[in-house]
Amino acid sequence: MSKIAIVGVGQTACTRSKIDTFEEMVFEAASRALADAGAEVGDIDNVVTVSNDFWDGRTISSMAVQEAAGSWGKDVSTVEGDGTFGALYGMMRILSGSFDTTLVVSHMKGSESIMNLITNAMFDPIYQRGLGIDATSAAALQARSYMTMSGATEEDFARVSVKNHGNAKSNPYAQLPMKITVGDVMASRKIAEPLKLLDCSPIGDGAAAMVLSNKKGLKRFKKDPVWIKGVAHCSDAFTLGYRDLAKSRALKEAAKKAYKMAGIKNPLKDLDVAEVYDAYSYMELMWYEGLGFAPEGKGYELIRENATGMKGELPVNPSGGVISSHPVFVAGMLRLIEATLQVRGEAGKRQVKGAKTALAHGINGPCGQAHCVYVVGA
């Protein structure tokens, strides 16, 4: 595969109930990504937007944010799914040979609708939707399945929440920076057992954008490239009940392929930092296993030993993760942006010293049905 670089990244702060419209948020993120790249909109050959009609409350939502992404007179297409999948498609547009540069933008205003109703509509309308299941109650079923398989405890989940909300204090874009204790998480309001309020990511608004380029396009940009060294995605069964919820076969497969491409043999040692999609606290432990940081059923050992803390062997989610800011669909792109900033040495107070190789991870579908894994490096 010819190499694709990330040359510009931009994000808005994540907040609850932003006054800005979709278009205003996208313009802010896209402008920042272009400024970061040292580029003008004319340096962009094609645009990929990431959006979802149900969340946006409009049909063909992809068309509405195009001008904010600078797409007048350009080739533009859309991915309905997490931003990591949008970035992957942005890469593919370049790899097709038709373009040298792509701007990928994603946006979400979770505050303008009701998350539970929207995510209820993600389930099969005949057998599951009418039962009232939604993203959070489904995640709770997965959390319990995972506890049964692994022996991980609710306190282990709480440790993830404590670590990531604490990390968010060093991220000026994060929605919920908090210094909390395991006791605080355990005492927080029951949402869907075993998940409590502080095990769940917040509803939030935000936008993100990135500029991708091949080698030929690099001369248009001022920023040093961060190279995508490996990327892969994989999906598993849609229907809850047809899939082993406690083990992520799709993540294992995606990680295996991305690591092979990037020459990663021992992820815990070869990676310097990882950003994973912890929409709910327990997910981070499951993804440790899927990503090969820990053997199956042993993800909790890493959090108990603080191996994934800022000073641990492999810091995970120095940004604060998805549990601290969850603009749906944007959140995976934020992982990739944070990985880029870390490799550049531009992550400010949350910088992992000397980080050269970073992992970013996004999910799509109920309970992490599909996974997208990136390895990036300077």
Partner: protein, 152 residues
């Protein structure tokens, strides 16, 4: 210097989207729902490749990508593989909180079926416990013809 944006009253527009749909269940799904409605029987389909019995039934196996045409009657009892007690209420839920969901592996099926758990003390729910289907008295050919599952 004052910014004009600090002085603007923000307007919020409330939408009223209501978009009705109807979904054809298909022949395979309809046979499943009719058996519950008319006979209180739960049927699945078996994959000729991996031998997995899918409940609700599928017309093709996602694993093996082959048609699954063999019908298998499964039990209305099974094992509670996972559950959650939900403490919030929204209008898409058929019951007020607290309500419980379970993933139930029916005897004779592979994988699990998602459904409500009720008529029990939620504090006593445990993974691995035996549960059974409670059928609705008035059955109309929907998944709600199984009212919920309850400890057997």
């Amino acid at each position: 210097m004052t910014d004009w944006k600090d002085k603007v009253e923000n307007m919020v527009y409330t939408g009223r989207i209501k978009v009705p749909y109807l979904w054809n269940v298909g022949k395979t799904g309809s046979r499943f729902l009719v058996a519950i409605r008319d006979k209180k029987e739960i049927w699945g389909t078996r994959c000729p490749g991996c031998k997995r019995v899918y409940v609700p039934p599928v017309k093709s196996c996602g694993e093996c990508f082959v048609p699954t045409e063999e019908w298998v009657k499964v039990s209305d009892k099974g094992v509670l593989e996972s559950f959650t007690v939900v403490h919030y209420s929204h209008e898409m839920q058929p019951r007020k909180a607290p309500l419980a969901y379970g993933l139930i592996k029916l005897d004779g099926a592979d994988g699990a079926i998602l459904h409500l758990i009720d008529d029990t003390d939620f504090a006593k729910l445990k993974t691995g416990m035996k549960v059974k289907a409670v059928f609705a008295e008035q059955r109309e050919g929907t998944i709600a013809d199984i009212k919920h599952f309850t400890p057997a």
